[in-house]
Amino acid sequence: MPEPITYLEAIKQGMWEEMERDESVFILGEDVGVYGGAFRVTEGMLERFGEMRVIDTPISESLIVGAASGAALMGMKPIAEMQFIDFISCAFDQITNFAATCFYRCGEPLPIVIRGPAGGGTHGGPFHSKNVESIFFNTPGLKIVQPATVYDAKGLMKSAIRDPNPVIYLEHKLLYRRIKDTIPEDDFTVPIGEARIARGGRDISVITYGAMVWSALEAAEKLSKEDGIELEVVDLRSILPYDKDMILDSVKRTNRAIILHEATLTGGPGGEFASFIAENGFDYLDAPVVRVAAPDTPVPYSPPLENFFLPNAERLIKAVRKLAEY
């Protein structure tokens, strides 16, 4: 039986194994070499793969992504690390205009992965806590994933690297060392675009992803015990494209849906999921679709403010109880 590993270790294993099996895979980013990355996700890789495949860059996010694209056009499969995902904004043009449109515009595949730590809960303040999926969600041609589990962290990383399209791989930094699991030793992948049922339940579908999956599971246990309400937790895993079939299938069974995400409410992916359900699952619904998300503010720094900002099990429970009465 293999030892349990962390979410962080799973991400690293995913990259490591792909680098072992495919010489065209390489990493570039800030402090990824000798230092092993701000969160140590690439620790030991420089020693193993050498400086042509683990490349420390200057503080130049646009360069990091643009160079990844250029290398991909030459047949490489680059993994671009953003030290914190917040800094991806500096590469916005390269991602949305060059990389995401590449196959559509000129028929060249663009297999790049852009990855980095996202999310709040570590008192990182407005610039080290963001959830950037909303910003890129409106970009055709991009894929966006965020694993919630150790298994998915590894399996999605492998799929992202092998995918011929640009993929933004969001790592929830709160999960890096907080969750551990044993995973198979074989070469498994998790397909992009497929959700999973994290917990089956007959009463209300909670559609979520990332660290919020754990909040939803926590809420589900409590609601099951205290209210006899059984939540079904749908872990999307892929935010773009998202698994429409599984969402609809779940809502068909539960007839009620809550969308939960850590990204801020207005313009967040939840709006899209809710519209999708309303347009395609109206007949199955017994109640309006509800969104639980962070309020429309920057991510604040001080603990009371940040705790107020972040959605959690408690807030979800409140929303569930209200919806159950509808």
């Binding site: 643009g66 043009d93 028929g107």
Partner: protein
Amino acid sequence: MGAKKAKTTQKGEVSVYALNPRLKKAFEATLEPPKGKKTYEISPTKEQKIEILRYMKLTRSIEDRIEQKLYRQGKIVGGVYVGRGQEAISVCTAMHMKKGDVASPTHRDMGIFLVRGVPPRRVIAQYMGRRNGLARGRDGNLHMGYMNIGLISPISHLGFNAPVISGVTLAMKQKGLKNVGFCMNGEGATSRGDWHEGINFCSIHKLPAIFIINNNQFSYSTPTSLSYNAEKLSDRAVGYGIPGETIDGNDVYQMFDSVGRAVKRARDGKGPTIIECITFRMTGHSAHDDAGYVPGKHFEDWKKKDPIERWVKTLKAEKLITDAILKKMDSEINEEIIAAADWGEAQALPEPEECLEDVYYNQESKWFALKEEIKEETDARANNLSRSD
């Protein structure tokens, strides 16, 4: 704010020279060909000299056709930007490209596409938004590419290509290839942060990249004095610890030599070079722009430096061409362009539903069949060239 007060001429026009005295210097320095018999480290062969002429003429002709005929007839989809007066830059650069080399051209670099073997008829189909254009109607004008001949399809966002060429040349180094990458920009685009990020990275890693700036003295209506404050853009090379030079971009010998030396350095693993090519955009920014902000005298002055006319003079002096050869060349080009325009126009527009295809990579994509077709065409054209590959 202390904006410089522009001196106005009698007609009330703003003088570019008044705004930017260093351009006057650049202009004067490049008006006369170097005195005496200047020798260059790298010169085109006799065959290449004729090819350079042919491709500069082909470039001018196809752009004239597009801008002055097809566009006015309403046959072109969207805007038209041409590189009239700048042909030496794109053609001489592309003449140095070998198989496996990559260029990221600008909207003034038609010559690169043609030299690399893109057939004029495909260019016309592209400008007309046809499904057989290089972009299948998904984008227009020079926004087309084909990695098989080393051409990156540009996006509008100027400066994007410096990071992209950094990655292209990084991959060349990782793979141990002896190839080079060309990052083409206007002087205006060099104000983008991306240009800095790319060139800085290439310098650090001694990547085989060549940063070619066509300094045509304007970015849209903005004169260089409002774009940067350096004497020469090549002076920026010092800040990156690499060589840089400013040359007459309308002089084929200088262009060919300068790019050739930079290519050699790059292939030898000595890293990037900046080449600033002084030139002038002999048109408005685009076909809808009358360039009223450029004093008339400026166009007249620069007409004397037309790269094609100068090259014709040189080749005549070298007894490499005669009027008869020129006449034949012109009529061949003219015929090809007319046939290209007809072919382009005869191509089908895309089916509306094709809008939805290829957002993501797709193995059954129509791209692959089109690329096969274009590969045959570009291979055939490349085989007729005495260019390096």
